[in-house]
Amino acid sequence: MKKVTDSKKISKKNIAKLLDEWRQEFTVFVPWRDEAVAKWARWDGKDTSFLDWYRNTVVPPKAIFFPPMEEMFSFQKDREGYHLELPASDEPKQLIFGIRPCDAKALAVLNMTFSDAYEDPYYLAKRNGGVLVGLGCTNPYDSCFCTSLDSSPTDSANVDLMLTDIGDDFLVEAITDKGKALMAKTSLAEAVTRADEARAKDVKETTYAKVTKKIDTEGIKEKLLSGFDNKDLWEKIAAKCITCGICTFLCPTCYCFDINDELVKNQGERFRSWDSCAFPLYTKMPMENPRVEKWRRLRQKVCHKYVFYPMNFDVIACTGCGRCIRLCPVNWDITQTLDNLSAEAQVKMEK
């Protein structure tokens, strides 16, 4: 366990300078607002006002490593056949500044998926070149519930460097070797005092307590499975869902994609793009569609995250970021659903 005194601190006034230093080596991504939509974008070299408004983005940082649309290759067709041209496979050096613990944990989940039976070259090339500089929260939303999912608003488990807001400065902890290397290069880091450490501890505890939404994940797998065939319950749960793709597209752990070719005369491209299990045609096959009814799709979505993914990877594929709750046009709330299902399962078990 690293000693807290290994930490350094950086003044908030020096963040622009720090980002500028990093910019010489990396493409730096920061939270950025476009028409009031918070997302991730390349730092413009001067504006650090995001430090004032940033709580979390609408579009998660997965969009940097797993973009909404990506060209897999282009091809030409002639008499000899198809000639493929692959995009560059280098590992772009990208630094994500200010990633929240929930999103960083989600990237760890994506890593598992994309390096499981098949190593996804598109994702891994980007991810391997990526450096994550985490920023602990101080102002969680009322829709956040990371504390129920083995994490916290100041969790440093999945980043290279972890920043904690202690007022005029950020406390900086190097978590990985990549992080240590970054800190070694900069002269902007200052020594940390006992008061700083105490402040950091206080911030972490206070912020943890600010997360008010909670779910009980005790035995959640068994509870969900026990109600799996309860069509009436699932129909009621799914009734107000409009099966758009907002929750899945903006979820930092969702990874489904569709592959399509576009051929114009003798050349074309193969794209992959985000897909959603909530869409009616997601499981459509020539002969049938096993999930025509919306309740089946919603059941699958919930169980994928809380039952099937944990069965395969030992971790719940949800990090409690709350985007699905905040942005759902009908305020469908997964935490309410899980509570209802748990309660039903409880009743059933007691019978």
């Binding site: 476009d34 028409e35 009031a36 939509v37 997302k39 709580r55 609408v58 579009v59 909404p68 649309m69 102002n139 939303y141 009322d142 829709s143 009621k236 009734a239 107000k240 409009i242 099966t243 758009c244 793709g245 907002i246 597209f249 903006l250 569709d258 399509n260 576009e262 794209f271 793009s273 985000w274 897909d275 959603s276 869409f279 009616p280 045609l281 919306k294 709750i325 905040r326 942005l327 046009p329 009908v330 305020n331 469908w332 709330d333 935490t335 309410q336």
Partner: protein, 323 residues
């Protein structure tokens, strides 16, 4: 619009409808899981009825659920939503005898985005938002601030042409008056500003807006007029648009969606509200609505005896553009 009287009346009427077997389920609003949010309540259980609410946050257009549900529904609608029901009746998508319309006279819905901008705080950091007739009181950290209600209502509420449903079975309160002409103009500021810039710039504007589009289809799914079993974007033979979110295809999708709902879209504004990346979709829907009104003197969702706009024609339809 917070009116304990309307809520009580709604609950007793809804309960009666279920108990007397006049409807199979009730579609209304209940308190949401987030502050100042409501969420649809679709239930056939009369024990759920006491959760029904009426307040300035009942934003959803619940008529979107009528296309998919079987059986008879008792549905809570504001003026704008009731026009969507009229549109559905014109399209023969819903049978009048299968709907019991519980009309809510609406005095406008509060746009939390506007509130957040006014006080510089996010929704969950605000203590209270209370409407008091033509004023709204917003409390942040025990600090009360008052604003005219018009500053926090949705844009299309500002220009509302039918606050109280014309088509209803049970009216839950007193009639409210429609917007004045100045208000209507104010609600269309963005569209008018677009019309004042040259065509190439307009196209560039839409190109940059649709660059953000993720093709989540929330706009389509939340729209009561979009009820096709298989949308044109889901067609593969022929393949009109790849599901890839390129701005070109995103733009074509939205333009065609507007064409397909022309004369049936009542500018309820749900598409713009649902969009997670804040594309100003009402600048398209409202323009289409006004165009149909201007060229054909037809307002969507007003007369349930009228034919659906695109399924009708008049001998006098404009044709000066045809060679």
């Amino acid at each position: 619009m917070k009116d304990g009287g309307m809520e009580q009346k709604l609950r007793s009427e809804a309960k009666a409808l279920l108990e007397q077997g006049k409807v199979d389920y009730i579609i209304g609003f209940e308190a949401g899981s987030l502050k100042f949010t409501t969420t649809p309540l679709i239930t056939s259980d009369k024990d759920d009825i006491d959760r029904l609410v009426i307040n300035p946050f009942i934003v959803n257009n619940l008529s979107v659920y009528l296309s998919e549900l079987k059986g008879r529904a008792g549905i809570v609608v504001k003026g704008c939503d009731s026009r969507s029901i009229v549109s559905l009746l014109q399209d023969n998508k819903v049978a009048r005898e299968n709907v019991v319309i519980l009309g809510v006279p609406c005095s406008g819905i509060i746009d939390l985005g506007k509130v957040e901008k006014l006080v510089g705080k996010d929704r969950d950091e605000i203590d209270d938002i209370t409407q008091d007739r033509d004023r709204v009181v917003i409390t942040v950290d025990d600090n009360r601030r008052e604003f005219p209600i018009r500053e926090v209502l949705f844009d299309n509420c500002l220009g509302c042409e039918l606050p109280t449903p014309q088509e209803y079975d049970i009216l839950l309160g007193e009639l409210t008056s429609a917007a004045s002409d100045e208000d209507k103009i104010a609600s269309q500021k963005k569209i008018n500003s677009l019309k004042n810039i040259p065509p190439e710039q307009r196209w560039e504007f839409w190109r940059s807006e649709f660059d953000r589009c993720l093709r989540c289809y929330a706009c389509r799914n939340v729209c009561p007029a979009c009820f096709c079993q298989r949308c044109f974007v889901e067609e593969t033979e022929p393949l009109w648009l790849l599901p890839v979110p390129r701005w070109q295809d995103n733009l074509v999708f939205q333009v065609i969606r507007n064409m397909h709902v022309a004369g049936r879209c009542t500018d309820c504004g749900e598409c713009e509200r649902a969009c997670p990346v804040n594309i100003p979709l009402r600048s398209l829907t409202r323009e289409m609505y006004d165009m149909v009104d201007e060229l054909f003197h037809y307002k969507a969702g007003m007369d349930k005896e009228a034919s659906s706009f695109l399924a009708a024609y008049e001998a006098t339809d404009v044709e000066d553009f045809i060679r």
